[in-house]
């Protein structure tokens, strides 16, 4: 069952990416994963040219070093204060990536490492490269590379959960309490590098960013608890892997691209329909608030004209549209609301306050 193999591998990779990704998003350094995932290419290519084996564990070490070097150089450039932070991030990694691509095209294009592998990964072929031990088929090799990385990520986050939360939300307090944010920061960056290298073979250099950032960003739209955020991220990662592989088989397109597209679909859904952050909810909430405010203003207006000579003229629906410059539709929505709340009695066009409406108007004035 190669498809099952691919789904399992994709799930392991995406869950492995999501775990450090949650803290990248929380620490507002999401784009460091972009820088790292580009930079590891140079490490992989140089390592490959020396070792001549694309699946050697030594490659992971070399590539991870390239990732950390990028972080280090970028932060050095930021500290030199010659450039703003965003420009500094955007300057270093293109150099690493360009050198990597040039080396591939010059020296390695005839082997497994080519431009397509860099961008698309080889997850479709990964079931072909299997690990055999003691005469048994132990499944795709890539699973045995990514599984330890996943375990290291789980172990790291489990052991330093409190500390990671602390440096994410209050680095100042962390320093005051004697934790070093920068040590934990570099530990996290190392994990990101190692994970990116592990995922590189399967999904390519750039789509790693999508797996690291998109599920946690989606989860952040849905919850404010870190533990829930991790849980939702993992769920989205696995669902995207299953649906993405299915979609890729259905339309015969890039598997990694389809998985990423699915994470994008989940993000779009959360962006629109999240209960607290969602745009749709926000739109309706704002509309409701506008109508409620207008209703309160109407009550105040009516109470100030109550018992005066021009009451019959002022307190009418027609007056609302002309006097308050409301549109016909809006006045209808407002009058519907005030009648619904039993604040106002409506007799054809004429309006009169109920005792409850008078009370509400007074409390609005006093507020």
């Amino acid at each position: 069952m190669p498809f099952l193999d691919i789904i399992i591998l994709a799930s392991i990779i995406s869950v492995g990416c999501v775990l450090p990704g949650v803290f990248l998003v929380l620490r507002k350094v999401a784009l460091m994963s972009d820088a790292i995932s580009h930079a590891i290419l140079l490490g992989i290519v140089v390592g490959f040219l020396i070792i001549k084996d694309l699946h050697s564990p030594l490659l992971i070490v070399g590539a991870a070093l390239a990732g950390i070097l990028t972080v280090f150089l970028t932060e050095m450039l930021i500290h030199s204060r010659r450039l703003k932070k965003d420009a500094a991030i955007g300057l270093i990694f293109p150099v690493f990536f360009s050198l990597g691509v040039i080396l591939i095209n010059k020296f390695a294009s005839d082997v497994h490492l080519d431009n397509d592998a860099v961008l698309l990964g080889e997850i479709a072929y990964s079931p072909l490269n299997r690990l055999y031990a003691f005469g048994m088929d132990l499944g795709p090799m890539a699973i045995w590379i990514m599984l330890p990385i996943l375990l290291v990520n789980i172990l790291f986050i489990y052991s330093f959960y409190k500390e990671l939360k602390l440096i994410s939300f209050d680095p100042g307090l962390a320093t005051a309490l004697g934790f070093s944010p920068s040590i934990l920061h570099y530990a996290l960056m190392s994990l990101v590098s190692i994970t990116a290298v592990g995922a590189f073979n399967a999904v390519g250099s750039i789509l790693v960013v999508a797996l690291m950032i998109t599920p946690p960003a989606t989860a952040y739209l849905l919850t404010e608890r870190v533990s829930k955020m991790i849980g939702i991220s993992i769920l989205i990662a696995i669902l995207s892997s299953i649906l993405g592989v299915g979609l890729a088989i259905l339309i015969d397109a890039s598997i990694a691209g389809c998985i990423v597209t699915m994470t994008g679909v989940f993000f779009l859904l959360a962006l629109c329909f999240s209960p607290q952050q969602g745009l749709v909810f926000k739109y309706f909430f704002a509309k409701k608030q506008r109508i409620l405010f207008a209703a309160h203003m109407l009550l105040v207006h009516m109470s100030s004209h109550e018992g005066t000579s021009n009451e019959s003229e002022e307190n009418t629906i027609r007056n609302m549209t002309t006097h308050m410059r409301w549109t016909e539709r809006f006045s209808k929505q407002v009058s519907k609301l005030v009648v619904q709340h039993n604040w106002v009695k409506r007799d054809k066009g004429a309006l009169s306050l109920t005792p409850l409406g008078r009370e509400t108007a007074r409390s609005v004035i006093l507020r």
Binding site: L77, S98, V101, I206, T214, C258, T263
Partner: protein, 372 residues
């Protein structure tokens, strides 16, 4: 002997132009701390290129460019929508948009590759860029768009300058800042799209950031920076594309990026005033100066205790009291005539040295009253 090959001329012209335009518009992106928006836009353009092809089944540059402008613009719009409306910050919004759009673009690209009639469409060259595929018709489209972008930038120069440095002030003057913001971003999108075929979606962002980052080191004036940035961009675009077109197996995008990065590196190190090398030399000079002054103050401490204020002391004693190597500082003071070196390792104050040490003491400790 220079032979002006026709293809090479087209390539050179196109890449010079794209460098110029991205250099000019990149200056605004970098100054407005929106460097990485270019990264998101260029990646977001990939699905647009593919859609442009899929809808028209035509590889004419105009359709691909229109598609790229559309999705690039949508990407930029979504980034600002996310940042304005949710807890997510700029970095996460950019990361999501650039990677998801790019992933979706790759899906479309693999779909196009599986269409038999389209397998030779050459859209893959948009990934890492290929100067060799530039045709005259491409350069014409690029020139027209570039000319529009550059002339609009010069027409709205004052407005763009204002919203780049002081948005609030611009708003109090009654300028429609959010509309100008959108307008400037649209121009940046177009300038990115101009370079996509030559530099590629993956690395185009570097051509927005790098020329401006290099130019920023040389000047504090916007007009100078924009011109210089355009110059750096044009030069490196031309050099990089020429190298790539003449040397086999040298991808264009990465070559241009390495070329412009050399400019950035030189500018960061050697630009007058802001150059890191000059900064380091200033730092060393300051340090030597402080060490020499400290040594002078130490010698004065000795001279106050001795009956002879000019009595020469062992270098090792001076090193011990100064908590550091004294030799360099003594050489410096000797050059200024503040100390004499009668023999071997013995050093003593001169008349002018004694006078200078009083000044140093006043400078360092606020006058001799402060320590007595």
């Amino acid at each position: 002997m220079i032979t002006l090959d026709y293809t090479l001329m087209v390539v050179g012209l196109g890449s010079t132009l794209l460098g110029l335009v991205s250099g000019v518009l990149g200056s605004f992106a970098v100054l407005r701390k929106q460097s990485l928006l270019g990264d998101a836009i260029s990646h977001a353009a990939l699905p647009g290129i593919c859609l442009g092809f899929l809808v028209t089944m035509d590889k004419s540059p105009i359709f691909l460019v229109l598609g790229a402008i559309f999705t690039g613009w949508v990407g930029a719009f979504l980034v600002s929508l996310i940042v304005k409306n949710t807890v997510l910050k700029q970095d996460a919004a950019l990361g999501v948009i650039l990677s998801v759009f790019f992933g979706f673009g790759l899906v479309l690209l693999t779909l196009i590759q599986s269409i038999p009639a389209a397998s030779q469409s050459g859209l893959e060259s948009f990934l890492f860029g290929s100067a060799a595929t530039l045709l005259k018709s491409d350069v014409i489209v690029m020139s027209v768009l570039g000319l529009i972008v550059l002339s609009l930038t010069s027409i709205f120069w004052k407005e763009f300058k204002l919203i780049s440095f002081d948005t609030e002030f611009a708003a109090t003057l009654g300028l429609p800042t959010s509309k100008l913001d959108l307008f400037l971003n649209t121009l940046i999108v177009i300038s990115i799209v101009i370079g996509l075929q030559t530099v590629g979606v993956v690395l185009m962002s570097a051509l927005i950031i790098a020329p401006a980052a290099a130019a920023r080191q040389w000047t504090d004036k916007l007009a100078h920076m924009v011109l210089l940035s355009g110059f750096f961009g044009a030069l490196s675009g031309c050099i990089g594309a020429m190298l790539s077109a003449t040397i086999p197996n040298l991808p264009t995008g990465p070559t241009i990026v390495i070329t412009i990065s050399v400019f950035v590196f030189i500018s960061l190190l050697f630009a007058p005033n802001r150059g890191l090398v000059w900064g380091y030399i200033r730092h060393l000079k300051d340090r030597n100066n402080i060490r020499a002054k400290t040594m002078l103050a130490n010698l004065r401490l000795f001279s106050e205790r001795d009956t002879d204020p000019f009595y020469p002391h062992e270098l090792s004693a001076l090193t011990a009291i100064g908590r550091g190597p004294a030799k360099k500082a003594m050489a410096e003071l000797h050059e200024q005539g503040f100390v004499v070196n009668p023999e071997g390792n013995l050093w003593g104050l001169t008349e002018s040295g004694l006078a200078a040490s009083k000044l140093v003491e006043a400078e360092m400790f606020g006058g001799s009253d402060a320590i007595s």
